[in-house]
Each structure stands twice: as C-alpha cells, then as structure tokens.
C-alpha cells in the first residue's frame, strides 16, 4: 500500500533541487556554493528513495547509499580546495578565481 503518491515526492525533490541550484548559481561565497551542492545531492536522494518506496524495491536505497559516498568524497575534496583557495587568495570569493594563470 502506497500512502504518499510518487508525484508529490518528485515535486518535493524538484523543489529542493531548484533551491540548491539557485544557490549554486547566485552565491559568490564558495562555502555557500558547496552547501547548496549538498542540498542538490540531497534532493536527488529524495527522488531515489521515493521511487524505491513507490515500487517497493530496495534499489532506491542502494542508489541513495552510493550518492552518500559521492557526497562525502565531494565535500572532502571541495573543502580541501577551499582551504587552498583561502591560503592563496585570502578570500572565498569565487570571482577571484577568474584569472587562469599560475
């Protein structure tokens, strides 16, 4: 028995995804961009869990676990890059990264 319709879950996932996407393209602080990326990945996880529960299959949760590892690796690398950025440019402003030179 399915109590929550899949379309509503997908609407929730899309709303969260769009919120994260707007954050990624509008914020100038790299830390906020990373946080918005987290929101986006989370929205994808919601979609997978919703689909998995709609079809009563465990595959959705498996994909969610894979997304979780992806998010962990992405955050570790992103924050390490942020530390380098703070060290070299003394700022987290993404516009400072516009010059392509060593």
């Amino acid at each position: 028995m399915i109590t929550i319709p899949l379309s509503h879950v997908l609407i929730l996932a899309s709303i969260l995804f769009v919120i994260g996407f707007v954050g990624v393209i509008t914020r100038k602080n790299t830390l906020f961009i990373l946080m918005s990326l987290e929101v986006m990945l989370n929205a994808v996880g919601v979609a997978f869990i919703g689909a998995g529960s709609a079809w009563q299959q465990a595959d959705g949760q498996v994909m969610f676990i894979l997304i979780l590892t992806l998010a962990a690796a992405e955050v570790a690398l992103g924050l390490a890059l942020l530390i380098q950025m703070q060290r070299r440019f003394k700022s987290l402003d993404i516009d400072k990264l516009s010059k392509l030179k060593g």
Binding site: V39, G45, I49, S53, A58, V62, A71, A73, L81, L82
Partner: protein, 200 residues
C-alpha cells in the same frame, strides 16, 4: 484547502509538514548571510529529509542520512569554517564572550533569542512530528505495511551491486588522497625531495 487537509491521513500530514520544513530550511541555507547559521539550517534541512525518508518506509536510509550527512559531512563543514577563521565579517551577530551581542544597539537578550529562534523552532517542530509518528499507532500500522528494511538493502548491495560498491570505495580513496594533497600545509612532503636534490 482546509477540507483537503482534513482528508489527509496522519502519515501524509506528517510527511507534508516535514517536506515543508525541509524546503524552508533549504531556502534559509541558500539565502543566509552567516556561514554558521546557514550550516545550522542545513542540519535542520537534512533532519527533515530524514523524517521524510522514515515516513516513506526507508528507516535505514533515514538513519544513514542522520549519521553520515548530518553527522560526518556537517562536521567536515564545521572544521573547514574553524580553519578559515570566519570571525570578522561573517559573525556580526554572534554573541561575544561577555554575553553581549554585536550588531545590536543595546545588546539585549531579545536579539540573542532571535538568533537561535529559526533553527530552534524548525528543529522543535521536527521533534514533535517524530514523536507523533513513533507514538501514533495508526501511522505505525501504515508504515509497517510498506517498509523496506536494511536486510533487503544489504542483500542487494553485496549481490548485484557489488561492482558499484567497489567503485564507490575507489571514489572514497580518491577523495581521501585528494583531500590530503590539497589541504596539507605548504611545503610538507618537499623536504625529502630537497634532500635528494642536495645530495644527488
């Protein structure tokens, strides 16, 4: 509008309010000015999504969401913020050592309360929902009929998806090495090369 609300069963009502909390908290993350406050809202958003997972019949995913996302990844963010030392411009309204609040005229207690009000209220609503979902027999009866438990997930994960698990472990290894390489202090690992260069 009200009548459609009344037609919803308790599980759906709980789910939709948790979804609303997740959306509100995510909006606060994206529009926030202060890094630490945005992080607190991100925690609330992830917890709200975890409640949604639980109500969708995925308790294992809900636990992972709390442990890995709200526990590990957010701690990583906190450490990064501490390393950046975002103390000057970002923490304009942070309470100082003597209990006064910067950015307010008189440093009143009401202002300090405002600071904690948003995350606190959202988290409290989530707690009430969770307590209701656990204690209500009607919700539990609906949940147990379509729950996918950890056993099924584990069987699938180490059966058909074994290759994906191996690839994910490679991804984590790459993240570990890359994180170490980028975050290590300037010059670490160069001494040995210099020694070789001098002697050779």
């Amino acid at each position: 509008m009200i009548s459609t609300f009344m037609e919803l069963n308790p599980l759906q009502l709980t789910f939709y309010s948790a979804a609303l909390l997740a959306i509100v908290a995510s909006l606060k993350v994206v529009t926030g000015k202060n890094t630490v406050h945005a992080l607190l809202y991100l925690v609330v958003s992830l917890l709200a999504v975890a409640v949604c997972f639980y109500l969708m019949g995925a308790p294992f995913a809900a636990g992972l969401e709390v442990i890995v996302y709200a526990g590990a990844i957010l701690v990583l963010f906190v450490f990064a913020i501490m390393m950046f030392g975002l103390g000057q411009d970002e923490t304009l309204h942070a309470p100082s050592v003597d209990g006064r609040v910067y950015g307010s005229i008189d440093g009143s207690k009401a202002n300090k309360f405002n600071l904690w009000f948003g995350p606190f209220l959202l988290a409290l609503l989530l707690l009430l929902e969770l307590v209701y979902a656990i204690s209500s027999s009607e919700v539990q009866a609906k949940l147990t009929s379509h729950t996918i438990d950890a056993k099924q997930v584990g069987i699938l994960l180490y059966g058909p998806y074994l290759l994906a698990v191996e690839i994910a472990s490679f991804l984590l290894l790459a993240g570990l090495i890359g994180g170490y390489h980028f975050a290590k202090p300037e010059g670490v690992g160069l001494e040995r090369k210099k020694d070789i260069g001098e002697h050779g």
